[in-house]
Amino acid sequence: MRHWMKSGLLMTSLATAALAFSATSGADDFPSEPIEIVVHTSPGGGTDTTARIVALATQAQLGTNVYVQNKKGGGGSVAMSYVKSKPADGYTVMAITPTHLFTMLRGNSPLDIDDIQGLARATDDPIIVMVRGDSRYKSIHDLIEAGRAGVIKWGGTQIGGVDHIAAMSFAKAAGMKVSFVPFDSGAEFAAALSRGDIDAAGLNISETRDQIAAGDFRPLAVMADDRMKALPDVPTLSEKGLDISFSTVRGYVVLKSTPKARQEILEKAMLKGMESDRYQNYLKGIGLDETSIEDAADWDSQIRRMYKAGQETMQDLGLAR
C-alpha cells in the first residue's frame, strides 16, 4: 500500500524536497533515508494516531518515507532508550508528552531534559477545571472555598500522570484538600463527573466541547497562561493569582546533538505538513484548533517550563528523585 502511495506523492514531494534543499544550501542531502517517529504506546491511542497523521503530512513535504515506530513501556523510557541508541542524525524523531517529562523527573529515564531539542508541537490541550452544569460551585472561588472546608473528589488519569500532577499542584497552591480518583481515560472520568460520582475534574476541551456548549459541564478555570480562544469567558488560574499551567501536549523532539540544519529541515516540514487540510481536519476531530501548532522555539521552551513546574510538585509529593 505504501509503495502505491509513494508513487502518488512522488511528484509533489520531489518538488518540495528540491525546494527544501535549495533553501538550506550548504546542508547535505538530508533526508535521503526513511525517517521514523518513535511513539511510546501501542498502535491506536491519541499520541499514536496524531503521530501517524503528522508522519503522513510530513512525508508529503520531505519526499521521503516517514513512519511510526511503536516502543511501548516504562512510561516512555523504552522509547527514550531506543532513541538514545540511535545516531543523532535527524532520522529518528521522538513523539513526546508530559508523561516523558515526568518519567525523566522520576529518574527512570535514560534521557534527560537537556538531551532533547523540540522540533514542533502538534496538539495543545490545556487542562480545564470542570464541574457539572448544575453544580453548586459557580466559580473557581466556590470550589476553592469548598476544598478548604472539606474534601473535593477530583477525577483524573493515573497517579503520577499529568492530570494528577496538575490537580495536586492546584490543590497545594490553593490550599485545598483533594481526594484524587484515577481512571483509565479522560472520557471515563468525564462520564463519572456527569453522573455525579466525582465533584470536579481536570478535563480537556477536546473531550468536553459539546458538553460545555450544552451546559452539562461548567468550566471554572483554565490551567494556562492565556485564556483559550474557544473559551474566552473562562478565566485562567494565573489571573486568580495561582501560577499553574498544565496541558496535555504532544509534540516532537530530536536528540540535542542533531545538526542544526537538519533540525530546521524537519521543523519546517512538520509545520508545513500540519498546515494541510488533513491535519487541520484531524485537529477539529479531536476538538482542537490551529493554536495547537507551535514552532521549535516556543515548543522547546514550553517543554522546559512544564518540566520545572512538574519538578516542584513531584518533589513535594515525594515522587521525584
Binding site: M1, R2, Y67, Q69, I159, M168, S179, F180, L317, G318, L319
Partner: protein, 153 residues
C-alpha cells in the same frame, strides 16, 4: 508413600511461588502519605496470594491418599524442542527473525522425525520468506533482521 499423594508436585511448586512472590511484595515502594487513600498497592497482590495459598492447601488435602493420574510420558524430543525454542529466542537478536525462523523450520521437522529431506529444505526456505513478505511488505510491520538487516528492511 509420596506416590499416593496426587498433585504433590504442583502444590509444592505453587506454595514456593506464593512465598517468593509474597516476599517480592515487601519490596514494593511505599506510597507517599499524601495520596495513600484506602487501598495500598500491596493489598490486592497479597490478598490473591493468600487465597492461592489456601486453595493450594485444599488441593493438597483433596489429593492426599489418591494415586497420581497417569500422564503422558515426556519424551526427550519435548526437552530438545523446548531447548530449541529458547535457543531461537536468544538467536533472534543476532540472526534476526527471518534467519532464525529458517533454522527452526529446518530443525524442528528433523527433530520430530520427518525424513523427507528435500521437502524440509524447500519448506525451511519458503516459510520464512513468505512470512517476511506478508508481514513486512503487506502489513508494514518491521521485524528485526539482525545480520540480514542491510538487505531486508
Amino acid at each position: 508413600m509420596l506416590s499416593r499423594w496426587r498433585d504433590l508436585l504442583p502444590g509444592v511448586v505453587l506454595l514456593v511461588m506464593v512465598v517468593a512472590l509474597y516476599w517480592i511484595t515487601t519490596t514494593f515502594s511505599t506510597v507517599p502519605a499524601l495520596f495513600a487513600q484506602g487501598m495500598q498497592a500491596t493489598a490486592m497482590p497479597r490478598l490473591i496470594l493468600g487465597v492461592m495459598a489456601v486453595l493450594t492447601l485444599v488441593m493438597l488435602y483433596q489429593g492426599y491418599g489418591h494415586v497420581e493420574e497417569d500422564k503422558p510420558v515426556i519424551s526427550w524430543r519435548m526437552w530438545v524442542t523446548a531447548g530449541l525454542l529458547l535457543a531461537a529466542f536468544l538467536l533472534f537478536e543476532i540472526l534476526g527473525l527471518t534467519l532464525t525462523m529458517a533454522l527452526t523450520c529446518l530443525l524442528i521437522p528433523l527433530l520430530w522425525g520427518e525424513r523427507r529431506l528435500g521437502r524440509i529444505v524447500i519448506y525451511a526456505v519458503c516459510t520464512p520468506v513468505m512470512i517476511y513478505l506478508l508481514f513486512t511488505h503487506a502489513l508494514q510491520l518491521r521485524l528485526p533482521q539482525g545480520i540480514l538487516s542491510p538487505w531486508l528492511s
